[in-house]
């Protein structure tokens, strides 16, 4: 089976983001960028499927500006075979990205598309579901386990009450949750090898799709800061404060 993985370049999950003083967004200049952690998990799963002989080819796609090539290279160093950059310097929102990904899917004809369940910058948690809808495919969101079951994919999902297992008709869309796997670090030889793997560029504009943003950001602000409180010396002190000061117990 052929696997397509969608990856996103985001501000590194461990960077403390700063809101710009003019309220136009968050500071991105000189900030460490990385592959979205959930996309790393998606790439890892695809590479494992290949190592198990289940996947025949792993293709990685990213939508956005030229620098997204770096993110694609990271995925290639993890073991993906080739990359596709859907080039756009415009602001993209999940609906637009889903449309771009759909056209890549139509061209590549994968049996499985893996995405992250959410991107840690905009936290939308939408793209996979929207792509699945546009294709009229099944969807296994928030996956913590994927197994192949004659012609179907059996996916265990993390839901509010615990876990749920679904059988999905293929081709299908799966979005990765944290516990699907632990992504590997690319080894130096693999990073070198990845430099020679092909990345094709498609101009988003040439696909002729309506990808204009539908949401306009009016303002980005900092949430009210929490004041650090006090240190208590003992449990007795703590219980006293909770009872008599905070009055919560």
């Amino acid at each position: 089976m052929k696997v397509l993985v969608a990856v996103k370049r985001v501000i590194d999950a461990y960077v403390k983001v700063r809101v710009k003083s003019d309220g136009s967004g968050v500071e991105t200049a000189n900030v460490k960028m990385s592959m979205n952690p959930f996309c790393e998990i998606a790439v890892e799963e695809a590479v494992r499927l290949k190592e198990q002989g289940i996947a025949s080819e792993v293709v990685v796609v990213s939508c956005g500006p030229q620098v997204n090539q770096e993110t694609i290279r990271t995925a290639l160093a993890m073991g993906a075979d080739r990359g596709i950059l859907v080039q756009s310097d415009e602001e993209l929102q999940p609906l637009g990205i889903a449309k771009l990904l759909k056209s890549v899917v139509e061209k590549e004809q994968p049996d499985l598309v893996l995405l992250g369940k959410q991107a840690v910058d905009n936290d939308f948690n939408q793209t996979g579901q929207m792509l699945s809808a546009l294709l009229g495919w099944s969807q296994g969101t928030f996956a913590s386990k994927i197994e192949q079951q004659d012609g179907k994919l059996r996916v265990t999902r993390e839901i509010d009450g615990g876990l749920e297992t679904l059988d999905l008709a293929t081709p299908t869309i799966v979005t990765a949750d944290l516990r699907l796997n632990e992504p590997r670090y690319a080894s130096l030889p693999n990073i070198m090898k990845a430099k020679k793997k092909p990345i094709e560029t498609i101009e988003a504009e040439e696909l002729g799709l309506d990808i204009a943003p539908r949401l306009k950001v009016l303002n980005v602000s900092e949430p009210p800061a929490r004041q650090a409180g006090v240190r208590v010396e003992s449990i007795a002190d703590l219980v006293d404060k909770l009872k008599n000061e905070a009055k919560v117990i």
């Binding site: 983001v17 910058d121 900092e222």
Partner: protein, 315 residues
């Protein structure tokens, strides 16, 4: 102008998310959004629909009780939402896993960019939502004619479950897509209150060292009527099930009292609990970042402090 709220429910009762989503719907209605209808879809969910009829300010309850809505598979529920959406300007759902799974799917079919996880209603087309794990708030204006919105439960108080008398309309099923089927569920059984709506939450992190050690937190939870939560590290280590996870990518909670035990306070964890009214941290490392958001911080070994807390609560 009208608003459709997709109910979260467990067949015989409404889920708590429905009550806070309805609060957001009422705010939109007050800004000219029109009548509020509630959709209860599922199999054997007539009781939940009955409960929805008593919700305040709800004009109509739509009951779609049919085989294909069993387990609320997104592939089957989304077409129903799309069909109904024709008659509404707004479709709202809670940001629980059900809403997150279904709403974007329906939105794509309607060519709408949904707005996830709103925490405030500014006007009929402008909403506030957290980005970057809650480190920034983004005020966005939607240019879509229809608006599909998921609502963060902790940001809107639950409305009372009484006071209304909505009419009931029964809908035909929209059929089985044949794309997916439910194999099984492993739901966590607990006598404790639900994590996202509990008045008190006590959470354990990697510092707990094992799942067995969570017993000491359970004893405190029993005394306080608290729900149990955990950091991602504790879930990844297999101490507790996934549905305990609090944080950016787990559950968001805002109880009256949140007690973090053996949790360092990574931004992804803070994203899920920093709106709690009172935060207590118990950690042996006085430099742990959790202390920067804690109202009351105790630097102590949790294996001594927690049993002591349990005893102190008896007095």
């Amino acid at each position: 102008m009208s608003i459709l709220v997709i109910a979260d429910h467990e067949n015989d009762a409404l889920g708590s998310a429905t009550l806070s989503t309805l609060n957001a719907a009422q705010q939109i209605a007050a800004k000219g959004g029109g009548d509020i209808h509630v959709l209860v879809a599922g199999k054997g969910c007539a009781e939940a629909a009955k409960a929805a009829q008593t919700l305040p300010e709800v004009k109509k309850v739509l009951l779609a009780d049919s085989e294909e809505y069993d387990h609320l598979l997104a592939e089957n529920v989304a077409p129903l939402v799309v069909k109904l959406a024709e008659g509404y300007d707004y479709v709202l759902a809670g940001s629980a896993t059900f809403g997150k799974n279904v709403l974007p799917r329906a939105a794509a079919l309607l060519d709408v960019q949904p707005i996830s996880d709103i925490v405030a209603v500014e006007s009929g087309d402008t909403f506030v939502r957290p980005i970057y794990a809650g480190n920034a708030l983004s005020k966005v204006q939607s240019g879509d004619a229809k608006k599909l919105i998921s609502v963060r439960g902790t940001a809107f108080d639950a409305v009372p479950a009484e006071g209304g008398s909505a009419e009931l309309e029964t809908l035909e099923g929209t059929g089985d897509s044949g794309l997916s089927s439910h194999v099984g569920s492993e739901l966590t059984q607990s006598e404790r209150p639900e994590l996202t709506t509990a008045r008190v939450v006590i959470s354990g992190g990697r510092g707990m060292q094992s799942g067995d050690n969570f017993v000491i937190l359970e004893r405190v939870a029993d005394k306080l009527g608290a729900a149990l939560g955990a950091s991602r590290a504790a879930v990844d280590a297999g101490f507790v099930p996934n549905d305990y996870q609090v944080g950016q990518t787990g559950k968001v909670v805002a109880p009256e009292l949140y007690i973090a035990v053996g949790i360092s306070g990574a931004i992804q964890h803070l994203a899920g609990m920093k709106d709690s009214k009172v935060i207590v941290a118990i950690n042996k490392d006085e430099e742990a970042p959790i202390f920067q958001v804690a109202d009351y911080g105790l630097v102590a070994d949790l294996f001594e402090a927690v049993p002591e807390l349990e005893k102190a609560l008896d007095q």
